[in-house]
């Protein structure tokens, strides 16, 4: 207990008391230091230092305008070292060019105050709070995109009715994708601007169509998401109808594309009635729906790819079959589809059904069976479905969700083809192809199934579609130009395999 006290007085040196207190704490925390103080030498401060056993003769002589450095340590050497260190802090108080701490608004109210010209808000909060936040937004006259899900259907309907009264568009809840005035929102891709306006009740469906339009040389005026349940009877397509109004009024939009699951009859007829009154041509893709009677200005298509081609006036028979997609001899002709995009899974099912193939799925389109249905058939799974994502991120964000099933399918002798989608763009994983390739290489099998993939995205996306395709190819994956093509390739392979066996 023979502590050593060292004092140093710097005459006429002033530093803010809080800065000095922080510095004191820093020095006091050092190994071997009992107590440390850097204080201006006012009488009160000298008393505090005296009580803390920190003052010797030098410090006692200090005055109010002097800075006292007072250190009590276990050895003289420790004290002297700390003294030198204290002085070096004083002489170089701050590294230049600090980042600074920036303020970000914590509430809608403050955000609006700091950006009064904004008229659109994106809400991504737990579902329990989404409607309350959205109400605040529409009551301020803001259009609203609600990324959140788990909102009760009746609350969605009530919100949309109120928004309609206020003249505000509600995109969502569970709206994953939109491109407004060229800005991709949530899960969306970087596509050129152009003349095609999209109304999408499906996020990945909108992504695939906008990316294919870009791939075919076209561009997007607006892509308005409405949420997956907008066309349910309870909601009655409120946002879809408002989005159609908006695109009809938008001078930059020449062609409208509507993408949705098949709506109930009464909602479908209301939407078709509105489309019949529209002054612009409309392409309708109710994915999984049978043929409907179309107004004269509308064309029905059955796949996302056809929606994109038709919107640009391209022919619909453009399947480029690869030279040889041959299933290994030891394999049977069953397809496992492991999709991260729900609508991409639906599109594949539609194509399989149209080719007469039996399909099972966890979200079956009309004509497909539920997954628990025993028996034959290909298995096309939407891995973004709640049963797979409970407590986990969506497979577009975290591709590891697909890993285990991929490995199982690779090792499953009944599986001849594995069909996958990779969705890139804003919000998606930074390198899904790299991850996929890594998993495949680590689980390579002598006689493994054919792996067929498509990449939804563009070369302007952060992940770069061309790079992603190259990574897949290097892992032995066959990459089709579209999700629909991948499905068609798979069908060609399994049907020719049946031919071989028969």
């Amino acid at each position: 207990m023979n502590d050593v006290v060292v004092n140093k007085v710097r005459k006429g040196f002033y530093l803010d008391s809080v800065a000095l207190m922080r510095l004191s704490r820093k020095i006091a925390e050092k190994e071997g230091i009992r107590e440390a103080a850097l204080m201006m030498g006012t009488p009160q401060n000298r008393e505090i230092m005296t009580n803390a056993g920190l003052l010797e003769e030098a410090g006692r002589a200090a005055e109010g305008g002097d800075l006292v450095i007072a250190i009590r340590a276990i050895t003289r050497e420790t004290a002297e070292t700390a003294l030198i260190e204290s002085e070096s802090y004083l002489d170089q108080p701050m590294a230049a060019g600090g980042e600074g701490v920036a303020w970000r608004p914590r509430t809608l109210r403050a955000a609006v105050k700091s950006m009064p010209e904004a008229n659109l808000v994106l809400i991504s909060v737990p579902g329990d709070f989404a409607i309350a936040e959205a109400r605040k937004a529409i009551r301020r006259g803001l259009h609203t995109m609600i990324f959140s899900d788990n909102v009760p259907l009746e609350e969605e309907a009530a919100l949309k009715r109120e928004a309609r009264e206020l003249g505000c568009l509600v995109m969502g809840p569970d709206c994953g994708t939109a491109i407004i005035n060229g800005t991709p929102l949530a899960f969306a891709n970087s596509v050129p601007r152009g003349e095609i306006g999209i109304v999408g009740a499906s996020g990945t469906g909108t992504q695939e169509v906008t990316c294919l339009i870009a791939q075919y040389g076209g561009g997007i005026s607006q892509a308005i998401g409405v949420g997956g349940r907008d066309l349910k009877s309870e909601v009655g397509g409120i946002s879809t109808l408002m989005a159609l109004d908006a695109l009809e009024a938008d001078p930059k939009t020449k062609q409208v594309v509507l993408i949705s699951k098949p709506p109930p009859t009464e909602v479908a007829s209301r939407v078709l009635e509105r489309i019949a009154a529209c002054r612009k041509p409309v392409i309708i893709c109710f994915i999984g729906s049978g043929e409907l009677t179309m107004p004269t200005n509308a064309v029905q298509v059955y796949t996302l790819k056809d929606a994109a081609r038709k919107s640009l006036g391209l022919s619909l028979d453009g399947i480029e079959n690869p030279d040889s997609v041959r299933i290994g001899q030891a394999r049977r002709a069953c397809v496992h589809g492991l999709f991260s995009g729900g609508t991409l899974c639906a599109e594949a099912q539609v194509i399989f059904r149209a080719a007469g193939e039996i399909v099972r799925s966890n979200s079956p389109v009309p004509g497909a069976s539920p997954v628990n249905h025993s028996g034959e058939g290909h298995l096309l799974l939407d891995l973004g479905d709640d049963q797979y994502t409970l407590g986990k991120p969506h497979p577009m964000i975290d591709p590891t969700v697909r890993d285990e099933m991929l490995i199982n399918s690779v090792n499953d002798i009944t599986v001849g083809i594995i069909l996958v989608d990779l969705v890139i763009g804003y919000g998606a994983h930074e390198d899904p192809a790299g991850h996929f390739a890594k998993i495949l290489k680590a689980n390579a099998n002598n006689d493994q199934p054919i792996i067929l993939a498509s990449v939804t995205g563009t070369d302007r996306d952060p992940q770069n579609r061309t790079d992603q395709i190259a990574k897949l190819k290097s892992a032995g994956v066959l990459v089709a130009p579209t999700n629909a093509d991948a499905a068609n390739w798979a069908i060609t392979a399994i049907q020719s395999r049946r031919g071989e066996v028969h």
């Binding site: 809080v18 207190m21 505090i48 803390a52 109010g64 600090g98 701490v101 920036a102 303020w103 509430t107």
Partner: protein
């Protein structure tokens, strides 16, 4: 909704139109006629001796000796335990006090008059730093200083103020904000400006025999001299905002070292209370957080009018008390408080924030909705009686006060 908006607009209008002027220093007995012997006004919401924290007990026994109600501290403590002293909140008598904040019959109080509404508010004179009654100090040095304030500084300041038209505070605060004060932990500029305004009159009305040199040295050497003026000003500004039906704005925040209490314009005189929290801060050498008493004092009236933690951007160094302590983070405190206030004060602006007005009018709805409790800059007292200040820091008001207040408000306007 409309009723609440209108009521809050009226409340904010009253806050912003207040015209507080330091007009006098008079004995508490003259300012508050209800004050009598053995009656002690304290900081915070109502509380009894048995629940008083250490520094508050130290101050109570000290003031009892000072007032001559007890011969010594021990006797004073026994009397207090026997219920010999009547305890009431300052707030119930137009007064406020920092930390322990005791106001008793013979102390001098500064008088702030709100000339727009004609009401007055009172606060004792700041004792300076170190071991002082407001931090629970109670030895002879502390009591001698109180006697000097009573016998020398108080009367002299009163005489000087009465010789003129008083010192208008609204513009003085505006200048202080541009000079680096936030009026809770930083009062260097405003203390200097006050002394500058006071000095000519003091020189005329007080002679060297009456202690003029000591007065000038005392005020000039006390960086926190202005705090008590800012607090009485806050009280004078907020009292006319009380009892506006339908208003959700906070009219007082205050703590007694045990409980934190708030009052809301639309809920009358009800205190909504919760246990006080422990500040995050820095300590003087020889002390650590384990020595600290939790949050205390009426000084949160300063935050209630948009200063202190709400004006942190004006005094960037104060942000150093918390976390990483970047001075650039001070602006974040002010802007964040803007998320819970009904408006800003166009006359009290912060140059470094592009002349943003200080966030003004704490709305309990916004506090509850955002989960952002008011930020308070504060001193930290030792938890034992008789020691004094051990540090300073930043603390949050307890969220529960605001939740209770919102429920109380909802009941009152008939929303369940």
């Amino acid at each position: 909704m409309k009723i609440i908006e209108d009521a809050n607009r009226e409340a904010l209008k009253r806050m912003l139109s207040g015209d507080p002027v330091l007009v006098d220093v008079i004995p508490a007995s003259a300012a508050i006629p209800e004050l009598k012997q053995r009656m002690i006004l304290h900081a915070g919401p109502p509380i009894g001796w048995d629940r008083l924290c250490g520094p508050m007990r130290g101050a109570v026994t000290g003031i009892a000796v000072f007032e001559g109600w007890a011969p010594d501290l021990e006797a004073a403590e026994n009397l207090a335990a026997d219920g010999a002293f009547e305890l009431h909140p300052n707030h119930h008598f137009d007064a406020v006090g920092p930390m322990t904040g005791l106001t008793t019959i013979s102390q001098p109080v500064m008088v702030i008059e709100n000339r727009t509404f004609g009401n007055r508010a009172y606060c004792a004179i700041n004792e300076g730093l170190g071991k002082v009654l407001r931090f629970g100090g109670n030895d002879e040095e502390v009591l001698d200083r109180l006697r000097w304030l009573r016998d020398v500084l108080g009367p002299a300041m009163g005489k000087a103020l009465r010789s003129g038209d008083g010192i208008p505070l609204k513009s003085l605060i505006a200048r202080g904000l541009t000079m680096g004060d936030e009026m809770h932990q930083r009062n260097v500029a405003c203390s200097g400006l006050t002394l500058r305004a006071l000095a000519p009159a003091l020189a005329t009305t007080t002679t060297s025999d009456d202690g003029l040199p000591e007065i000038l040295a005392f005020v000039g050497g006390n960086d926190q001299f202005f705090l008590n003026i800012a607090m009485a000003m806050g009280k004078a500004i907020m009292d006319p905002v009380r009892d506006i039906d339908g208003s959700t704005l906070v009219t007082a925040m205050s703590r007694n070292g045990t409980d934190f209490g708030i009052r809301v314009s639309g809920t009358g005189d009800t205190w909504f209370t919760a246990p006080v929290e422990m500040p995050e801060g820095l300590y003087f050498p020889g002390f650590t957080e384990s020595d600290a008493n939790p949050d205390m004092g009426d000084s949160t009236i300063v935050e209630t009018i948009g200063l202190g933690g709400f004006a942190m951007g004006a005094a960037p160094a104060v942000a150093g008390f918390v976390g990483a302590g970047a001075a650039s983070g001070a602006a974040v405190f002010t802007r964040t408080m803007g998320e819970i206030t009904f408006g800003e004060n166009p006359e009290w602006t912060i140059p470094a924030l592009d002349y943003l007005g200080v966030p003004t009018g704490i709305d309990i709805r916004l506090v509850v909705e955002t989960g952002l409790a008011p930020t308070i800059n504060t001193g930290i007292a030792h938890k034992e009686p008789g020691v004094g200040q051990v540090g300073a820091g930043v603390v949050r008001a307890p969220m529960s006060c605001f939740e209770q207040a919102l429920r109380g408000f909802a009941e009152r306007i008939g929303v369940s």
